[in-house]
């Protein structure tokens, strides 16, 4: 069973968002890392890059496939987790601890449209 962490918000594409004031950390959910398999490459954006909601902001690649990662809420990148570039397997080890980017939210209301951890658990149960 894929792990879901309480207090985070989730997208249907299996990204998570952790909101802190006007900023948020974004990463991929356990389901995503599990289905990708051993992650061997992570491509991150640059600080100050701006993205709209649901725009691809990063890519993660396992041996078998490449997958774009979409930003569930619009924002401007204020920090990237460079550790992932050197050690992509961290995303397999703990996808919730290892965030990908920290953003400044463009519109905080967009968070309301994401799933809560309870909604996401239901979504996983129904989808899988």
């Amino acid at each position: 069973m894929e792990k879901v962490v309480k207090g985070l918000f989730y997208s249907k594409d299996h990204e998570w968002v952790k909101v802190e004031g006007n900023e948020a950390y974004v990463g991929i959910a356990d389901y995503a890392q599990h289905h990708l398999g051993d992650i061997v490459y992570v491509e991150l954006p640059e600080v100050d890059d701006e993205f709209e909601r649901e725009e691809a902001f990063a890519a993660v690649e396992s041996v078998k496939a490449a997958s774009d990662v979409y930003l569930p809420v619009g924002g401007k990148v204020v920090a990237i987790n460079e550790e992932l570039v050197d050690d992509p397997a961290l995303l397999n080890a703990d996808p919730y601890e290892n965030w990908m980017v920290k953003i400044e939210l463009t519109d905080k209301d967009e968070v309301e449209e994401l799933m809560t951890s309870e909604d996401y658990e239901k979504f996983l149960a129904e989808e899988v």
Partner: protein, 365 residues
């Protein structure tokens, strides 16, 4: 059209295989994970369900003559119980399929073809029968097949049969071998770059063989292995995959498989004229190996550029599990195929530097 199940479908589900629709068949991409399965085959042994492969028999007085007319390789050189790798081409030189021809005897050839091409091949072969005295039959649905691959393959399989497997040399076969109580045809062939065997039986028998091999190989660390590592293993070993390194539009000469195209074969074969012409005029594009210098992974289909000009595309690309390097095959303009030539791979709208290297990625031990 829904995908078909191989006789081993229930076993894949029981083993927790991640089953997908591949070439019209439900098959597992992986069980435990691509990388551990890949390593099992390189270091110990792995067991693949390859029941999806197509089997077409050609029987009759003209079997050898007819098949030789369809194939680029010289089938007339085969002796009984020997196997040959060959291409089957269009008159244009493009590839209909790549396959193995097993010679049972001079009036009985057994063709093992790609699953995705089985119907196409059967139609193609039948259409060209002409006046040849042969009977052609697609027996794919009644044949199950497993491949046991890896340095310990023989050790494991030997536990299940009284027949001395060391008698079967590379690219040779033995019929009517009793494996775990099932009558099988066994060949020393595979698609991984490792030693190993492919075992053919009927649909019920192959389930028994599959389970017996997994049980017998426990001590050696055998793993059930999926399509995921089948592709990385064959790629590292420079073995081509139809639809990638060649297809209906790409000739075997462009893909670098001239060794399997006997242009000087005495008898005529389909595609001979076009291939001869292409060879004498010189190739315009050629398959090369490349290694990425910049970060990123170059995947199949990505475009290749040189000084802003598009010169080809990636046919297969991976982070090699064995070598840990980002490598690939690309079909590119022959002006840029010298070793160490710098090329650019377009990865998600950015250009990553790469250089041309030998396609023989895996140095043999």
């Amino acid at each position: 059209m829904s995908a078909k199940k191989t006789p081993l479908y229930d076993e894949h589900v029981k083993l927790g295989g991640n089953v997908v629709d591949y070439a019209g068949w439900y098959l597992p991409v992986e069980y435990e994970g691509l990388v551990p399965e890949h390593e099992a085959v390189r270091n110990a042994a792995g067991l693949f369900d390859v029941s999806h492969m197509g089997e077409i028999t050609v029987k009759g007085k003209d079997a050898v003559k007819f098949v030789n007319y369809l194939m680029t390789n010289d089938i007339s050189t085969l002796v009984d119980n020997q196997i040959i790798y060959t291409l089957m081409c269009h008159p244009t030189g493009g590839v209909v399929d790549d396959l193995l021809v097993y010679r049972y005897d001079e009036e009985f050839l057994y063709l093992v073809v790609n699953a995705s091409n089985t119907d196409k091949d059967h139609k193609w072969i039948t259409e060209h029968k002409g006046d040849f005295d042969v009977e052609i039959e697609n027996i794919s649905d009644s044949v199950g097949e497993v491949a046991i691959q890896g340095p310990l393959a023989q050790k494991v399989l030997q536990k299940l049969t009284d027949y001395d497997l060391s008698q079967i040399k590379f690219f040779h076969l033995k019929r009517d071998v009793d494996v775990a109580g099932v009558k099988c045809m066994v060949s020393r062939t595979g698609y991984t770059g490792e030693d190993g065997f492919e075992v053919y039986g009927d649909n019920d028998g192959i389930v028994k063989v599959w389970n017996a091999i997994l049980e017998a190989g426990k001590e050696e660390g055998i793993k059930p292995t999926g399509l995921g590592c089948r592709d990385t293993l064959r790629f590292e070993a420079s073995l081509p995959l139809y639809g990638h390194e060649f297809d209906d539009e790409i000739t075997p000469l462009e893909a670098g498989f001239k060794y399997f195209v006997k242009l000087d074969k005495e008898s005529d074969f389909i595609g001979k004229e076009a291939l001869n012409k292409q060879w004498s005029e010189g190739l315009k594009r050629k398959l090369v190996g490349f290694e990425l210098v910049d970060r990123g992974i170059a995947r199949e289909g990505y475009e290749i550029y040189k000084d802003g000009e598009k010169i080809g595309h990636v046919t297969t690309g991976y982070k090699s599990p064995t070598l840990g390097r980002i490598i690939g095959n690309a079909l590119i303009d022959t002006r840029f195929t010298d070793l160490d030539t710098e090329i650019d791979v377009k990865i998600r709208n950015k250009f990553a530097k790469a250089k041309v290297i030998s396609k023989k990625f895996l140095k043999r031990k």
